[in-house]
Subunit: 281 residues, 2 copies
């Protein structure tokens, strides 16, 4: 049996690259006292077109690294890995004898949206792959089968503003098109179902109107993490700010350069690591 | 008597330069249906060291321009102009026979902070000039004399991150120093008393902790504007997004380049204007 996780250990977070750093950003703001260890699997980016078995193998490899470094909880900050591998990974971690929770995207946002809505009409903006997976639909309707869900695939939304370039009129027109069905449906709650969308959160809020509550992955996950740690009595005893550091399977310099824009906080400690190239079936 | 303001007219907003665009950003998000006309007095930037009589004259000139273009309400999105000229300007506008409200910074944030605090301990982060003016102290204590106020002058905070450069470890250390007295005082509400501070809002939230409510100028002003328009029955009848445009006394190209980072929305229409160089006493 592996050693029991420690309350002073870091929370592990992973993604295929820098996208999950917007989730880490919100975790660092919501849970400032905790330590975090982020792994960006940049060498194998993107995860979007990978087969489920492949993403399950990648997730196992990454979890092994995070657990070896003592992670007391694992956050899957990636829509593709969550859709294809969350349950698989949670079972893998549990079978390894680790008393470690595995929390993904989708579930926490869906729960929070159901808790927040007053008129029962919830919108989801997500990538075409995520929409096609039906993951938000299943999660929201599992929480509340009476919710009227409006889901919009937004093929171009993730690229707006994430490179630091100013938002253009064309970007606004594009975002307005995506928001149209949500406005028509009269949603009072909208899930931003992609880790890149916080970059355009203010724009979406303007287009949807101030009466709509936006739910981002990071905020929703932060609450879930807090519950999970509390249940296992694993919340850090620290009261000041925790530390955070990074592992990266690709080029560390490029990871820092792009990543700083996503994290909006300094990225001092980045360690480059290699994962086995031969992926077990 | 000038014509009565129209509900379809724009809300005028002014500042000495681009700083007030963070206020406009929040107004555009909170009141998306309204039109806005922003005047950046870049040619006479900065206002910080100007005499009160000078700022009163500048404010009158700017109000004349905004009123001529039909502004139905004027927002002074600048701490220096608010401290030195708000009451003067409101009287000038009223004496001119305009049924137009003039709303500045300081008052709305102070009210909102008093409304939000539960433990009666409020913090203020602001520039040395604003702290020296005692404006937040007067406004907060006028709303609630029992509040325990902790005010910190932050000489370097406005420059962090506003040029788009990544936040450094030194920046974090600096911000942590400024937050120290607020943490020690156990404030549950903190006023960001400078239009540039929204750039470091997430960093300050992390350093102060999630239990602290941050109050920014824009959010607080948006509520006040909404009340004022509602009282005078001047809220726009429109339900979609309004338009916004810009006047600038300095170089329009430079204003757009820097301003886009502050506004985080497109800045299409900028008109360069000249204000009288001979300032009446």
């Amino acid at each position: 049996m592996p050693a029991a996780p420690q309350s002073t250990a870091p929370i592990g977070v992973f993604d295929s690259g820098v996208g999950g750093l917007t989730v880490l950003h919100e975790l660092l703001v919501a849970l400032p006292q905790e330590d975090f260890l982020y792994l960006g699997d940049c060498a194998r980016f993107p995860y979007g077109d990978r087969a489920p078995a492949e993403l399950q193998a990648f997730s196992r490899q990454i979890a092994d690294v995070l657990l070896e470094r003592g992670a007391k909880l694992i956050v899957v900050a990636c829509n593709s890995a969550t859709s294809s591998a969350l349950e698989h990974l949670a079972a893998y971690v549990a079978e390894g004898g680790h008393a470690v929770d595995v929390i993904g995207v989708v579930g926490p946002e869906s729960n929070l949206a159901v808790a927040r809505t007053r008129n029962g009409r919830i919108g989801v903006l997500a990538t075409p792959a995520t929409v096609a997976s039906g993951a938000y639909e299943r999660a929201v309707l599992a929480s509340d089968p009476l919710v009227k869900l409006t889901t919009v695939a937004c093929p171009q939304l993730a690229r707006i503003s994430q490179d630091g370039a100013p938002i253009t009129e064309d970007d606004v027109d594009l975002a307005r098109t995506y928001c149209g069905p949500l406005r028509e449906a009269g949603v009072d709650t909208a899930i931003l179902g992609c880790t890149h969308y916080p970059f355009v959160g203010a724009l979406l809020q303007r287009l949807l109107g101030p009466q709509v509550t936006l739910i981002t992955s990071g905020t929703a996950i932060a609450r879930r993490v807090q519950h999970a740690l509390s249940t296992r009595e694993l919340a850090t005893p620290r009261s000041g700010e925790g530390r955070y550091s990074f592992l990266c399977t690709g080029d560390a310099a490029a990871f820092v350069e792009v990543g700083s824009r996503f994290l909006q906080l300094p990225m001092a400690a980045v360690e480059q690591i290699e994962l086995p190239t031969e992926v077990p079936a």
